[in-house]
């Protein structure tokens, strides 16, 4: 696939080249003048009470709590590169009628109106310069509506919109709904979303809201979710069900994502940098985990935000008789000198792989989740190499790292058998 990688890089280079050509082609055009557009006036600030409405494109909704004494006070500033501002006008009926608004030398202006419930106001704003140039009145044209919904309903609607954008894999649209004061790491969230969308497909999340709580400008939504994703790598469908919460804060033209709890509903690949606490009810519940290699597994949610230590690699593979597995190169190989162990068929494993320094059977253990740590020193030769479905084994590799693996299923006599494993990469025997 190196050819394809080369193709992708070439494609990206081509895109960049086309972009450069686009700019050079039109370099002489009027728009290529940083900051010196045509003499049209522009609005550089626009506030509806406390809400920044400069970038609102379609609609702006206010709940009764957003009003200031039952009114909306609109404040803004108009600027022009050539000449001066000569007139500012506003309309609430899509430009059928305009009201002139006084402005200061600096282009500052203000006006107010008292909206009625559920009445659509088709807001427009325009300015005229002293040189006769008019601003484009469609730029600040949107529908304003005072809705009966209280802040609770608006927050709930914003939560639904976040879910929709996530399920539609719209990273840019989702990040537009993340607060600038996001408590986790918003840069990490952006990267984690990229990973989610690379390795998750057909995402379905069905939340049932358990309760909502508010303080100041924030709403926290506690919910039980049922989630299903398809692993892009394997095509497998995976599900989980757990309790978690998100917190939204009023910012700009709506509620924005402010805080995430573990288990994560968004940005699943990086809980350590995104979740700021763990939902108590979900501790011990199996939740989806996405590792940096794109493997999707379900693991119990721990007491820490990271469901599994970040240095633990998880995975699974299938072995036919006569083949072994290398945990260091993550390949199925026929050469025992470069693998950790091999499957012989006939219900037995070979324990003299060149990648192994020591190992042993973990007697009485049937699940990888049950293993919190393994002995730091293990015998070079395992005591019992009988292959048993459900049995868990521990290995110390030649690089000083530790592995636990379990025979998950398959035919022990003829193969193939399926092995699931965890590889602790930080050099400690601790798997918790």
């Amino acid at each position: 696939m190196a050819t394809h990688a080369h193709f992708n890089r070439s494609l990206v280079a081509l895109l960049l080249g086309l972009a450069c050509m686009l700019f050079s082609q039109f370099a002489a055009a009027q728009w290529w003048r940083f900051g010196a557009d045509a003499g049209e006036p522009v609005f550089t600030d626009l506030l509806f009470n406390q809400v920044n409405a400069l970038r609102v494109e379609r609609s702006l909704q206010f709940s009764p709590g957003d009003l200031d004494g039952g009114k909306v006070i609109v404040r803004g500033r108009a600027e022009v590169a050539q000449g001066a501002i000569g007139r500012v006008e506003a309309s609430l009926d899509d430009g059928l009628s305009w009201v002139e608004v006084p402005f200061s030398d600096r282009g500052m202006f203000a006006f107010e109106f008292a909206p009625q419930f559920e009445q659509p106001y088709r807001f427009k704003l325009r300015a005229l310069s002293t040189t006769g140039q008019a601003s484009n009145d469609s730029e600040h044209a949107f529908e304003f509506r005072l809705v009966r919904d209280d802040s609770r309903a608006l927050a709930e609607a914003a939560f639904e919109q976040l879910l929709e954008r996530y399920m539609a894999r719209d990273r840019a649209g989702f990040m537009a709904m993340v607060s600038r004061d996001f408590i986790g790491n918003e840069t990490a969230l952006d990267s984690a979303l990229s990973n989610d969308f690379r390795f998750f497909d057909a995402i379905r999340i069905r939340p049932t809201i358990q309760r909502m709580a508010a303080a100041d400008d924030r709403w926290t939504i506690y919910f039980l979710f049922n989630r299903q994703v398809r692993s892009v790598r394997t095509g497998q469908l995976l599900q989980d069900q757990a309790n978690t919460s998100v917190t939204l804060v009023r910012e700009g033209d709506g509620y924005k994502l402010h805080e995430l709890a573990a288990p994560l509903i968004f940005g699943v690949s990086d809980p350590g940098n995104l979740a700021s606490f763990v939902t108590d009810e979900s501790i011990g519940t199996d939740v989806l985990v996405l590792d940096r290699d794109g493997n999707v597994v379900t693991q119990p949610q721990g007491q820490a935000t990271e469901g599994t230590p970040s240095n633990v690699r998880t995975g699974s593979f299938a072995l036919n008789p006569g083949f072994g597995y290398s945990f260091l190169s993550r390949q199925v190989l026929a050469h025992m000198s470069t693998t950790a162990f091999a499957f012989d068929g006939s219900d037995s494993l070979s324990n003299f792989g060149g990648e192994t320094e020591g190992g042993q059977t973990l007697s009485g253990v049937t699940s990888l989740d049950a293993v919190t740590s393994v002995p730091a020193d293990m015998p070079e030769w395992w005591g019992d190499t009988t292959a048993v479905i459900g049995r868990v084994y521990a290995l110390k590799l030649v690089d000083g790292t530790y592995v636990i693996f379990r025979i998950a299923g398959g035919s022990l006599s003829t193969g193939p058998i399926t092995i699931e494993y965890r590889h602790q990469l930080n050099g400690t025997p601790n798997f918790r």
Binding site: A110, A168, I183, A215, N273, D280
Partner: protein, 583 residues
């Protein structure tokens, strides 16, 4: 008797005979307000655009009382959901849906009563019934129970309460008591005490999934002026060590003082921060006790210097800073800065740099350092088209994990977006490329991913604005190179939504989605998914201000191995019926 607006709306809607009636407030106040075009009242131009200081006192809880409230009122709302799922095919066990017919009912009560001139009381409760474990672990449950009493100075909440002191100290819903006494307009003292139990059933020990009992007591004092705010917080929290719900979990007991502040300079610069110290005793299930002491500090900056807007954040949270009720990413040292520079009315550029690391006390065998530089250009109004926007960014994410298993992962992301609007039709195209390289023991050292997306969105008012038609089309193609095998996984997706809104609070929706994946990874298989759904939203007069939503859908999952195929058919009906009483 004074009619509540909502009650009046219901009466008027009923008299006028249906959902198509105009909103009650519009009709009721039509004689007292000027025509729509005359609503704009010009004001004296302001000197500053800084947001005015809100004249109201400090916010508390989620309830605010106004003089418009009646002496007594009772609102009862019944929210119901019925769903019927039919799943067929050999792989039906993989479906997310629960087969059969299921119900969910939430009955919400909200009663208000005024005591004299100042005091107001409010009672809230939500009772739930469901026969589906997918919605709630209990068939019958009390979701909410709350009693609030307040006047202009005092606020008292019993029952469900959102205990919020500061980010590091306490920010969690509890069941217990919350009391706040306002001192002037911007100063107050807040006291909270209770349990973190998420469900009332937990307090009654009725459910199997009950977590360990966790209790908290907290106090916050805040004072603020025109340009500053200071808060002092003290939290004590503890787990019940001998809780029968405990299995292998550690238990904690802690004292956490915290100090938070904010300062706003006249220039628009905003600085804020918080500093906390946690002393925690951790006890393992085996009874081993360990004392932990950790601190957390954060500093935020946001300001504008002419055409430059700067944002910055620095945070250090030590590995042993454990907060039982607050929130923090433990064991992190982070700095983040971003600057946006407006070159003019069309162009703006930005640069950002994020750097963070863990293993602050050397407690881990390996330290992971992450750096993410990013630059970008945005334009709005290209080619004299105000709606034409262009955005591009280049981000590099480098994750470096030290010995003993040294690894380095570098991911470069190039993003280009172009959007425009042609009358009522908006078009947005996106290309995102991820070029990943790594240095570790992986069999492959590089893999690239590409994503293309085209979104067409429009809105059409027809029949003189009586109908609002909103079609939406999204096309997507993604190529992911499997990091393990280097083989390609190609996904194509298409989604079409159509919404028709009428003036009578009636809307119809159609959703179609198709996704197919061609997977060349050994052992993996191709998959295909088709979904469609029809839905209806309405506010019929029969429900007296309530809402009705009905949805019917079909989904079909197909795999390379036909034994995994399955189909889903579902019907879902949701109603929201309010009953209001007042005097």
């Amino acid at each position: 008797m004074k009619l509540r607006p909502r009650t009046f709306a219901v009466l008027l809607a009923a008299l006028s005979g249906g959902a198509g009636a105009q909103p009650a407030e519009t009709a009721a106040t039509a004689e007292t307000v000027p025509p729509r075009t005359g609503l704009i009242v010009p004001l004296t131009p302001p000197d500053t655009l800084s947001a005015p200081v809100a004249p109201k006192g400090p916010a508390f809880g989620e309830f605010s009382f106004t003089t418009e409230e009646t002496e007594s009122s009772l609102e009862v709302t019944l929210r119901s959901m019925f769903e019927s799922h039919h799943i067929s095919g050999p792989g039906r066990a993989a479906s997310i849906l629960e087969p059969g017919r299921h119900w969910l009912h939430d009955l919400e009560l909200n009663a208000r009563h005024s005591l004299g001139d100042n005091w107001t009381t409010e009672f809230n409760a939500i009772l739930r019934y469901t026969d589906s474990r997918r919605h709630d672990p209990q068939t019958k449950s009390l979701q909410r129970l709350q009693l609030v009493a307040s006047d202009q100075v005092n606020h008292l909440t019993l029952g469900d309460y959102y205990a919020t002191l500061s980010q590091y100290s306490l920010n969690r819903a509890i069941k217990g008591i919350g009391y706040q006494r306002n001192i002037g307009e911007a100063s107050y003292v807040r006291f909270v005490a209770g349990a973190f139990d998420a469900r009332w059933n937990h307090l009654l020990n009725q459910v199997e999934d009950e977590p360990i009992d966790r209790h908290v007591t907290g106090l916050r004092a805040q004072t603020a002026g025109d340009n500053y705010r200071i808060g002092i917080n003290l939290v004590s929290a503890w787990d019940r060590d001998n809780d029968p719900a405990r299995t292998t979990e550690d238990t904690y007991r802690q004292i956490l003082p915290a100090f938070d502040w904010e300062y706003r300079a006249d220039s628009g610069l905003r600085l804020s921060g918080e500093h906390a110290q946690a002393k925690t005793r951790r006890q393992t299930a085996a009874g081993v006790r360990e004392n932990l002491s950790g601190s957390a500090h954060r500093l935020n900056m946001d300001g504008t210097l002419g055409k430059l807007r700067l944002r910055g954040r620095a945070e250090r949270v030590s590995p042993d800073f454990y907060t039982m009720g607050g929130g923090a990413a433990l064991d992190r040292l982070r700095t983040y800065v971003r600057g946006d520079y407006r070159l003019g009315t069309v162009w703006s550029v930005y640069g950002a740099y994020d750097w963070f690391r863990n293993n602050l006390d050397g407690q881990l065998a390996a330290t992971t350092r992450t750096s993410i530089p990013e630059v970008g250009v945005n334009a709005r109004g290209l080619f004299d088209r105000r709606s034409l926007t262009f955005a591009t960014s280049l981000r590099q994410r480098r994750v470096d994990t030290g010995a003993p298993q040294r690894r380095e992962q570098v991911s470069e992301r190039l993003y280009v977006s172009l959007a425009d609007r042609f009358d009522q039709v908006s078009v947005r195209g996106e290309v995102e490329a991820l070029l990943n390289t790594r240095k570790d023991t992986s069999p492959r050292q590089s893999n690239d991913d590409l994503l293309y997306r085209l979104v067409i969105d429009s809105r059409h008012l027809i029949a003189g604005g009586r109908y609002d038609l909103r079609p939406y089309l999204s096309l997507e193609h993604q190529e992911v190179e499997d990091p393990g095998s280097g083989r390609m996984v190609r996904t194509d997706g298409a989604r079409f939504d159509l919404r028709l809104l009428t003036q009578g609070h009636l809307s119809y929706g159609l959703n179609l989605e198709h996704r197919s994946t061609e997977n060349r990874v050994p052992g993996a298989e191709d998959t295909r998914l088709r979904r469609y759904a029809l839905n209806l939203d309405s506010q019929p007069a029969l429900l007296r201000g309530g809402t009705l939503r009905a949805e019917i859908g079909h989904a079909e999952y197909r795999f390379g191995d036909a034994a995994k195929n399955y189909r889903e058919r579902y019907v879902r009906v949701l109603t929201d019926i309010p009953f209001n009483f007042g005097n």
